[in-house]
Symmetry: C2
Subunit: 240 residues, 2 copies
């Protein structure tokens, strides 16, 4: 039986989502180890990778269950007992051709930052920008909306047949002392979210002009390929 | 010059406050290492120890500065740049006979728990008690108030001339989904707070009667010496 699971994890405990040959401290390795201890030899597939230090509140994975596992609630309980920094929120039966990555229609990221220095308890979960201009940030974000070739907004190293992605939403809200940026797209290239975030924050701090940002979005000139720090970033929702 | 510093730390990163021969992952070791890198060879003294996993928002320490260090703001900045899970909130000049431990008049601990399972992001900072009776908890806490011989509420292993301590306040409040218990005393024995907390929560879950708790407080009968989990506990204030 193929199952779809929604998971949340504390990215600060891992070197990223994807399995690596150099470290076992990856989300994939930890989950597969927990599955194997329950006699489930299936590997897992996620909706996409997250960088080291990037969190997830709604990452989606799929894997195949052997016949003898029928009680999905019990499976969830067992996995959550074995895992500490990863939590299974839901496990549901899916169609046999469901694919966490290829079936995904929309991906949503949330970025949380503060203008006061985060405390030692918040620093792995909230980023820090002492000052920025709200109006400029909103304008910068709006430039990303639409279908663009994001060739100037990604790290190389992943194979993809096109660098065109469509951003459906890019907005900013303030909730008490937390400042939050949302990005919703059909997909993101490697490190694209963090590169867009850094560029938008540069505009919001008047270190880059909106015209320069637009030049980069239109693949005319590369102004910056810096990445925003990972610790305020959350993969928050995948829509199918 | 003797200085007094108020520090905050994420206890989940350490094996406790006190220096140990078996590990360098202690708050004291990390601070002394940072001081030494600034040519300050003084050891530090804290107001008291905290167990592994216990946090602090207002731990107080003292140490002695060599003559050449006069700018305390710069010292604070330098230390905060070197330390990640520990933050210096204030460093102020104190009288030469100030002693972080012996001069302390009152110590305040805060314990935070939830009745919903804490998320992966909260689990090192908030404890979990799915259900409890508020009225019983308040009654249990009130029994601790006053001067008592806490001989049945501590771990052995620390030298102390008396096991009598005075609890000035022990109260419970709810703030949204967070439940908070405060303890204020002239001092606490080793693991006393966690043992009192566990006993109070046992009463609040009807696993121990208030009469049994009172028997233990009056050193008549030991009913439980279990410890509450450390991860919801914060050393929050020291008064001099």
């Amino acid at each position: 039986m193929r199952v779809k699971a929604v998971i949340t994890y504390d990215g600060s405990a891992y070197q990223g989502f994807q399995k690596q040959t150099t470290t076992n401290r990856t989300v994939t390795h930890s989950i597969e180890k927990a599955l194997h201890s329950l006699q489930i030899e299936s590997s897992i597939t996620g909706s996409g990778r997250t960088d080291a230090g990037v969190h997830a509140t709604g990452q989606v994975i799929h894997f195949d269950l052997p016949e003898f596992w029928t009680d999905l609630d019990k499976l969830k309980q067992n996995l959550n007992r074995k895992l500490t920094q990863i939590q299974f929120k839901h496990i549901t039966k899916s169609s046999h051709d469901f694919h966490a990555r290829f079936s995904a229609k929309k991906r949503v990221y949330r970025y949380v930052f503060k203008t006061q220095k985060p405390s030692v308890f918040e620093q792995k979960y909230i980023s820090y920008y002492p000052q920025f201009d709200t109006a400029l940030l909103k304008q910068a974000l709006s430039l990303f909306i639409g279908k663009h070739d994001f060739d100037y907004f990604h790290k190389t190293g992943s194979i993809t047949h096109t660098t065109v992605r469509e951003i459906y939403a890019a907005h900013y809200i303030q909730r008490k002392n937390n400042h939050i940026i949302y990005f919703e797209a059909n997909g993101f290239l490697r490190s694209q979210v963090r590169m867009m975030l850094d560029a938008a924050m540069q505009c919001a701090r008047e270190e880059m002009t909106l015209a320069q940002l637009l030049e980069q979005i239109k693949c005319r000139k590369k102004h910056s390929t810096k990445l925003a720090p990972p610790h305020g970033l959350y993969l928050s929702r995948i829509l199918y």
